[in-house]
Every structure is written in structure tokens, then in C-alpha cells.
Symmetry: D2
Subunit: 255 residues, 4 copies
């Protein structure tokens, strides 16, 4: 089972030497560990050698790999947070979801992979240069058909979408979107947002309550790596301590 032209491949030597590339048969990849040739009969799972004799594994990139490797114009949502958001929002294959703002498209890719061709991601961004970069990232990931991008400020113009299954919010002022989100969501459906600062969370809670949301919740997700080695087992010495506070809520009808 060969790899298709343009498909994402993760060439993996180690966590500090891994390359996410779009497959082009017979292309040569130049790395600091030597040249790696992508033969046309390359298959996932192959173990190949660079010109310097270093081993590379031909892996299917995980959703985390792709989302963490996009070209970034902004900070991005981490997989540890996105995973929680998806299950909290109840999103799955076929869901119709809203995302705002698009940013670098890391979460867009994650959402598109989850909802699939029978679902839809409506992704909103105010800054044209961000939107352009995100579009390219999503296209490279082969998910362009699932995503509808829109250059728009929904705090002003609304989302123009009805009965969405969930809305994912990653903007500096989420509270400005509470009313528009309430209009766009299906009854009982979920808002999930991420904010780095606790003051943002407080303002968001207040706006959500005012707009007709209930079951407000705020959590942090911490990921801690364990090193499991022959010399001994222990947590890694340093970790990301904070990405953001996650907020979720459910729309109910206003009286």
C-alpha cells in the first residue's frame, strides 16, 4: 500500500529530529542527519537510512503531530486541550462546528479530521494574513473540503450559521461572542473556549450567563511526561505548566 502524492508523512528519527513532509516520490529531504530519499515505493512503517547512515521511521503523523507542526502566525491550541474540548463538546464524525478565530489553523485541522467529510467546520478569522496561512496549512493536511473559511468579525456581524453542534472559541475577548454564539448554536449545544488569563475567564462566565448559557465549567489540563528508561523511571524535569483555562457551557433557550 503505497503513499499518495501530497500525503503527509512523518519522517522520525527522534523527538528532536522529526520532519512532517508532503510526500513527493523520489524527492530528497536534506536534514542535519543527512539526506533522506523518498523512494516512490515508500510505505508507512518503513525503516530507511539517511546518507549519513541514520535511521528514519516512516510514520503516519498523528493529529497532534500535524497540529503542532503547522506554520504558526499565532500561539496554537495544544492537543491536551483540544482533546478535552472535543469530548466536552460532544463533537464526532458528521458534526457541524464553528471555530473562531482560525489563527494558524491548528485546531481547524484537528476539528476537520474529527468531523470528516460528512461534517463541516465553519472557521472565522478577522485578520486576512492569518486566514491565508491557515488555509494553506489546512490544504496541506488534505482537509480543505471540510472547512469553510470566512474573513469576518462575528462579534459585529454574527456567524451567519444556525443550529451548530458546538462552537470552539480561541480569541482574546471571548465574552464579545457570547450572544452571537447563542444565536448560532442548536438548543442544548456546547460552547468551549480557551483563555490564558483568569480575568478573561471571569468576563467570559459573566457574558455566557447573560446570553443564556448554563452549566458553566472551567478546567485546566496538565500533561506530564514520564521518562521510562533502563537507567530509571521518573517524570521529565521540566514541563509546560500553563497553556490556558478551558471554559465550557451549554445553550438554553431564553425565557
Amino acid at each position: 500500500m503505497g503513499i499518495e502524492r501530497g500525503q503527509y508523512v512523518l519522517l522520525y528519527h527522534s523527538e528532536s529530529a522529526k520532519y512532517l513532509v508532503s510526500f513527493i516520490p523520489n524527492k530528497a529531504l536534506h536534514t542535519h542527519l543527512g539526506i533522506v530519499e523518498l523512494r516512490e515505493d515508500l510505505e508507512f512503517g518503513d525503516v530507511i537510512k539517511s546518507s549519513k547512515g541514520k535511521l528514519f521511521y516512516v510514520l503516519r503523523p498523528s493529529t497532534s503531530d500535524i497540529s503542532m507542526k503547522v506554520r504558526r502566525t499565532t500561539t496554537i491550541i495544544y492537543p491536551k486541550d483540544a482533546g478535552w474540548m472535543i469530548l466536552e463538546a460532544g463533537v464526532g464524525a458528521g458534526s457541524k462546528v464553528i471555530e473562531v478565530g482560525t489563527g494558524s489553523g491548528a485546531l481547524t485541522i484537528i476539528l476537520a479530521k474529527i468531523v470528516g467529510p460528512n461534517g463541516k467546520v465553519y472557521s472565522f478569522e478577522r485578520r486576512p494574513e492569518f486566514l491565508e496561512n491557515a488555509k494553506q496549512n489546512v490544504e496541506k493536511a488534505g482537509l480543505a473540503e471540510i472547512v469553510h473559511f470566512e474573513l469576518r468579525d462575528p462579534a459585529v456581524d454574527g456567524f451567519g450559521v444556525k443550529d451548530a453542534d458546538a462552537i470552539f472559541v480561541d480569541v482574546p475577548e471571548p465574552w464579545t461572542l457570547a450572544q452571537a454564539a447563542h444565536d448560532a448554536l442548536a438548543g442544548g449545544a456546547a460552547w468551549v473556549s480557551l483563555s490564558p488569563q483568569i480575568e478573561q475567564v471571569k468576563s467570559t462566565f459573566e457574558a455566557l450567563r447573560g446570553a443564556g448559557f448554563v452549566r458553566l465549567k472551567c478546567v485546566e489540563i496538565l500533561e506530564r511526561e514520564m521518562l521510562v528508561r533502563d537507567v530509571g523511571t521518573r517524570p521529565k524535569e521540566r514541563m509546560v505548566s500553563h497553556t490556558g483555562y478551558l471554559v465550557s457551557a451549554r445553550k438554553v433557550k431564553n425565557a
Copy 2:
């Protein structure tokens, strides 16, 4: 947009008074906060009153709600862990995944919702009484057609599946399944497993290395709730400190 007969509804008063029910028009639900009538024209997002005058919200259950509320014969995988596993495994709409063991079906439901009708979950369990309970849980969630259940011990008999996109392992001795998993996975695809104890992780790492897996990783995911209230903002006083260590790895071809 009415609710279909049999569809899951979350009747929510508070975190300590919430009810996941299969919708049956005109059924009355007896709770300690009074009787709640499920009128036939009930819609998601409605706010209704119990016979004791308590407010209930008619919410769409999140994937987390459903998976945490299944009838349990075993400990279950928490959404915080499942979310990480899904993104790490690269699973999405249309994926073909293996799960072992089925347990109470909590992860089965999460996976089925993610892969959808164009995907497939092959779920293996050795204990008939567990499998029976899990089947009922999955059926109630409306996901039965996506899941193929099998009463089998894959450590002995293999999985009988080829080219799976990922395998999710939640059994006490994951290391016994490394070889069978290698046979069943597509090249470069992912193993993810969860084990409560560090000795299990060490044995799993050893078996995975021996069977032809690379890029072994072990993490813990911690979820910490923040209380955002008028009286002040702070983390909740108690939390779940440990569910399990998560292990991931990728299959490469053996020389």
C-alpha cells in the same frame, strides 16, 4: 426540531443532579427534586420545571457525559485521557480502530462517535458478562452499527484484523498484546494504552520495543477544575490525582 424517540437527553439541574435518559415521549422521570415530564414536543435547550418547581435544562449530552454515565462493570477511561489518546493516535471520521478490552464500553462509545458510520470500531473482550453490558451501553447511545464486538482473547488468538489505523488498549497486561497488535496495525500506525501502575508501563515498553514499535512515549494527564464564583476564584479543593499512565508507540516493519 423535536427529539427522536430513544435519543439520549441530559436533564440537568446541577452537577449533582443530572440525568442521562433515552427520550420516550410523555414519560415521567422521578427524581429527588420532583417529577420531570418529558413532553412529546420537548426540544434541546428547553428549560422545564419539576413537580417541585426545580429548573431542569434539556441538554445534548457531551461525549464525556455519555461515557461517564454508562452502567459500569469495570473502571472506565476518563475523557481527559481519551481525548489525548484520540489525537495521539490520529483517529478521526472514517478511521478503522481496534479496542481491547471493551470493559463497560465507555471508550467504545467515545471511539464510535469519533470514527462515525464510515469508520469501524473492533472491540474485543474476554469476559462475556462485560461484553453483554457494554453492548447494551453502546446500543443505548445509538452507535451499535459502528461497533463490531468480539468475545475473544487476542493475546492467544490474535485480532483477526489487518491494517487498523490505531489500537486502544485497556487491559491489565498490555504487554501480552504487543505482537498481535503489530500484526493488526497498518505500517506507521499507533498503539495507545492506559495502565494505572508504573510497573505495567515498564513491561509494556519492553514488549513494544521487542515487537517492532518505535517512538515510545508515556504521559499523565491531569484535569484540575477552577471554581469561578462571585465570592472568589480558586481551584477546587480536591481532584482526581491519578487514573493511569498513557503509553503511545508506532509500528514499524520488522527487518
Copy 3:
């Protein structure tokens, strides 16, 4: 080396069956694991049997044991937090420290044990019934001579102390004490306080800056227990997620 009359002894069977008692020779202690007789020749380190044949260990109580076992009228400061506060404040044998409020005296005991007979703890409390209980707790711990208790509201009347080496603050409104603390501390000396809520921390930071404090810092200390057993090693399933935010600062002279 016998145990003195009145000295604290920890009779330890397990974490859920341990007794902190003032030693009275030949006294009998009634427990749900049987009667334990405190023979007059009892020594620390002895292993004794109750009337029901259960083993008890005669241990020296740690500072943590004593502070966690005082008769409580209030929430108390945990050892994990107190340990950080002591090292951050630079307190040791011979230090002269202020504490406010006294509460149940748990921190008073910890501080008295650290500063010793050549040091002094000035402990302030506004509520007479709390002060009375705390005095008894400190006396039972054999540390009464080190502590000077005072029923007073220092926010109104000041501390009446000069050149203190550090001040430990555990009151609901720490910010009301910033000016009085600045008057009472030696130059360059430390303020440390604990507050459950982030809004309290923000008000405290503001007041400290205004009163002439620098090097403001805020941390949380988390204690996570590991279970190391023959059946396997893992973190305990539940933990205390939050006691309070710790704040430290240093006094500088006002221009």
C-alpha cells in the same frame, strides 16, 4: 531514655488509626483497635500490642503530625505550605516572627518549633475563643514559652513590634495589614501570606506595592502521594488540589 510526663507521643497503627497523646504514665488509651496501655517505662521506638492484639508503634510526632492534629476552630495551614513559607521567609532558630491570625495555632506550633527558645513568635488574633483554643494547643505541644499571644486587631492598632524577621499572614483580608506589617518588619525582611482565592492575591499584591514592599511572588504548592506497593507503584487516586495561593514580598524603606 524514658518519655516525660506530658510529652507528645504518636501511637501509630496506620494512617487511619493514629493517636497523638500527651504521655501520662500507666494511662490506658481506648481505641477502636483495643485498649493501649502506656506503661511508665515506655520509650520512643517501642512496638506495643493493644488488648485486641493490634500492633502500635510509639513514634515521635513530626511537626506535621502535631500541626495537623490540633483541635481546630478554623481551617489550618498545611505542612506543604508552611515548609515553603519558612524557607522563603528565611526563618530559623532564634528568629523573631509575627503571626496573624492565630487561628487554631497549627502554624504557631510549627513556627515555635523552628525559632525555639532563643526566638519569639508574636501571634495575633481578634477572636477571643480562637485565641483560647490556640493557647491550649500550643501549651500541649510544650511550646508556650516561645509564643506571645495577643488579642488585637493589628489592622487598626498595629503590631506593637519592631524589627521582626518575618511576618506570616493568614487572615481573609491580608491587604488591610500591609502598612502595619511594613512598620513592624526589619529592613529587607519578608512578608508571607496564604489566601485561597485569586482575588485576595490581587488585592494583597496591590496593597504590598503601595506600602513599600518589593519582590512580590505568588506560588502554589501541590503535594502528591505515591503508593509504593508490592502490587504496583502509582500515585494515589485522589489528592488535595488546592489549599491556598502563597504570597511573599520584602520590605524596603519608603523614599
Copy 4:
């Protein structure tokens, strides 16, 4: 109240520009923020300017400041861990404690400050070059008289101390010291040790049980900094995830 010659002073501009110096009147300190003159009438709490006009605060160093700033030949114990160990061991003014190994003397300094001139720290180290460096660090901190250093391997030769109030162990193989520690401790007194790896903890538990210790406990202490700023409040983005597992136990008499 002037500063004595040789006394430690913390010249503090910010966390990334702070200097722990032994006070020598009229000495000039060269920093990348300009020259700071230590006038003979300098007092703690003074605010002074460097030759480049930068503000420096003249602070009393905390125990944490001194222990983290010693000249290092080894990794050192962090204050977050040392604070827990001190309260768990029940150490205070006047205590007689053993430390092994001395390492860079960071914990030696912390312990000496706590036990004071009426107490004693017996500090053991096998490597002469480490001991020499630690001695200098302790002397600079003005605590030399409280510490008795010894170049010795207690696993082979024992501690030569009796009835110690506690033993603090920071060596790669703590389990080799269980028997010698049991001999050196008073009845019911505490062992506390720190080990980075879980395998070390398991071996230590086994040796402690074998040597006559009870009430074995293992914890981790995590310190997480909060940034409290006008632009918003949040945890710092990165943190130290792991220093070591802390083990405590109590000596009982062998049957």
C-alpha cells in the same frame, strides 16, 4: 542597624538580576546593570542606584536564596522539597540531625539555619572535593559552627552518631544506608530521603522495611508560580516538573 562585615546581602533588581554577596564595606560590585557601591552605612531595606541608574534593593536573603545560590558541584535540593522534609522530620531549633551526602551544602545550610547554635548538623560526604566546596559554602553563610563535617562512607563505617533526631539522605543509593541510619537514630525518629527515580524509591522502601522502619511514605512536591500582573493573572508557562520523590519513615526497635 548596620550590616556586619561578611554577612550575606541580597542585592535585588529582578529575578534575573540578583546578587548574593558577603558584605564588605565600600566594596564595589560590578554587574551588567552598572556598578553598585556597598557604602559602609548600608542597611537592609535600602534602595540604591547603580552607576547606570538602575534600582537595587538591599534584602535579607531568604534561606531559599542562599541554598539556591551556593557554588554547585552537584544537583541540589530545592526549598519546596527541603521545607516538606523539615516538617515531616519534626526538626526545629536545637535538633541534632544527620545529613548524607553533603553535596554542595545547600541542604546543610538550610538545616543549620533551622537547628541553630543549640543544635547540630552531622554532615557526611565521600568525595573530598565536594566536602571542601560545601564547607566553604556553609562558612560563607556564617553557619560553620553548627555543622560537623565528616569525610566518610557511612554505608561501610556507620555514622558514629547515636540518638539523632532525624536523618536527611540525598545519595544515589539510599538503601545502602538503612541499617546504619537505624543504628544512628533515636527511637521513633525520622528518616527522610530524596531520589529522582521510582526504582530508587522501591529499593529504599524495601531496605527500610528490612532494617526496622515503619510508616513509610512517598510524596512529590510541585511548585507552580502564578504571574499576577496588570495585564492579567495566570500560571507561569513553564515549571520544574520533577526534582525527586521524597521518602519518609520512622525507626522502631527491632524485636
